[in-house]
């Protein structure tokens, strides 16, 4: 049997998150009790939500995170390693086998910035990865990001340079800050990639 009025997967996600108004939630439940096709879609949505949760727990995503994210990980008993190099400065860093999350804190004056990109460069300053248009607060005084702990645990000793850049009205790029992470490998593994 094919559902004539399928519920959108995003609405099912809202239902799973308890983010629907009471009347909308009741309507979704009445539908789900007569429609197994939408029930299958809800199961897929739940699996997706749980998969994303597991993925986040692995600490392998490279992304900007909130202070609440770091706080929650710490409260859950996860081992969070943090580095905060000064602007235009550097920090010596490493990871251990026990670490679950690797967090970098970059201080910068973001007031007036309309868009900020976070760029990751190698030791020679060559850009290797860019996170465009990251979420930020102009009054926050910086950006917190997560580096992949999976990558860091496997990486040889190397230097990574993080750059925060913004754009003027004409689209011209300007540097907000540059931060150098000198990673020393302390876990067994290859000396270089």
């Amino acid at each position: 049997m094919t559902c004539s009025n399928p519920i959108d997967a995003a609405v099912l996600a809202d239902y799973w998150l308890a983010a629907l108004a009471k009347s909308d939630e009741e309507a979704v439940e009445e539908h789900l009790f007569t429609c197994d096709e939408c029930g299958v879609r809800l199961r897929e949505t739940i699996a997706l939500a749980e998969g994303v949760h597991e993925l986040a727990c692995q600490g392998s995503l490279i992304m900007v995170v909130s202070d609440a994210f770091v706080k929650r990980a710490t409260e859950q008993g996860l081992h969070v390693r943090e580095y905060a190099p000064p602007r235009s400065g550097s920090v010596e860093c490493t990871v251990s086998a026990e670490d679950d999350f690797l967090i970098g804190r970059l201080t910068a004056d973001l007031s007036g910035a309309k868009r900020v990109d976070l760029c990751f460069c190698d030791g020679q300053g060559v850009e290797r990865l860019r996170l465009p248009d990251i979420p930020f607060h102009s009054e926050a005084g910086g950006v917190t990001f997560q580096q992949s702990i999976t990558y860091a645990k496997a990486a040889p000793s190397e230097t990574m340079i993080a750059r925060l850049v913004t754009f003027d009205e004409a689209g011209g790029e300007s540097l907000l800050g540059e931060y150098t992470f000198n990673h020393t490998r302390t876990l067994p593994g290859p000396g270089a990639w």
């Binding site: 439940e29 897929e44 699996a47 997706l48 986040a56 992304m63 248009d133 979420p135 102009s138």
Partner: protein, 180 residues
């Protein structure tokens, strides 16, 4: 040819003591009750307990002919779910009494395994999201933050957070190869 019984027919046949109709009731309703339980109780075992309890309560009512409008079986089961969850939250211990009355042979069928998820593909799909979409998805599903919390972090309205979340979910489903 197999003709699927409609809900009203199931109700009628259970009333007349047909065990196959009872089995069909279980097959049809157990997955729906379990989903309801997962959503409201957030625990697999609690959802299984709810499924068992609601099926037994429903069967008890149908055998006794207490459902006056047989075509409204689904609404009756949903209503029973709502009442049972309220009862569970009040700490009611009705389950043991019902199990004693009906016996363990009326256990609901084992739940179907959940959809298979390719976790490596999901990691690629999440990394391919735009920064704000990824932040919303992670804050929502890992941090369990509300739209209000996320909106504060992103500096956008709650409605905008919902739009970003919806777009991200559609994109993830597309990337994972499931229809929206």
């Amino acid at each position: 040819m197999i003709i699927e019984l409609n809900d009203a027919a199931i109700v009628g046949q259970i009333r007349s003591g047909d065990p196959q109709a009872e089995a069909e009731l279980f097959r049809r309703m157990a997955p729906r009750i379990r989903l309801y339980g997962l959503r409201h109780l957030r625990h697999e075992h609690a959802a299984d307990d709810l499924t068992q309890q609601v099926l037994i309560t429903t069967l008890e009512a149908l055998r006794a002919g207490r459902l006056r409008e047989p075509e409204k079986l689904a609404s009756f089961v949903l209503g029973t779910c709502r009442m049972t969850v309220l009862d569970l939250r009040r700490g009611a211990q009705r389950k043991e009494r019902l199990l004693e009355q009906f016996g363990a042979d009326l256990l609901p069928p084992a739940p179907a395994p959940g959809p298979h998820l390719d976790h490596e593909q999901l990691a690629r799909c999440v990394q391919d999201l735009k920064e704000r979409e990824r932040a919303v998805v992670i804050m929502t599903f890992y941090d369990e933050q509300t739209s209000a919390d996320v909106s504060t972090f992103l500096g956008v309205s709650e409605a905008n957070v919902r739009v970003i979340r919806h777009r991200a979910i559609h994109q993830l489903r597309d990337c994972m190869g499931v229809a929206a």
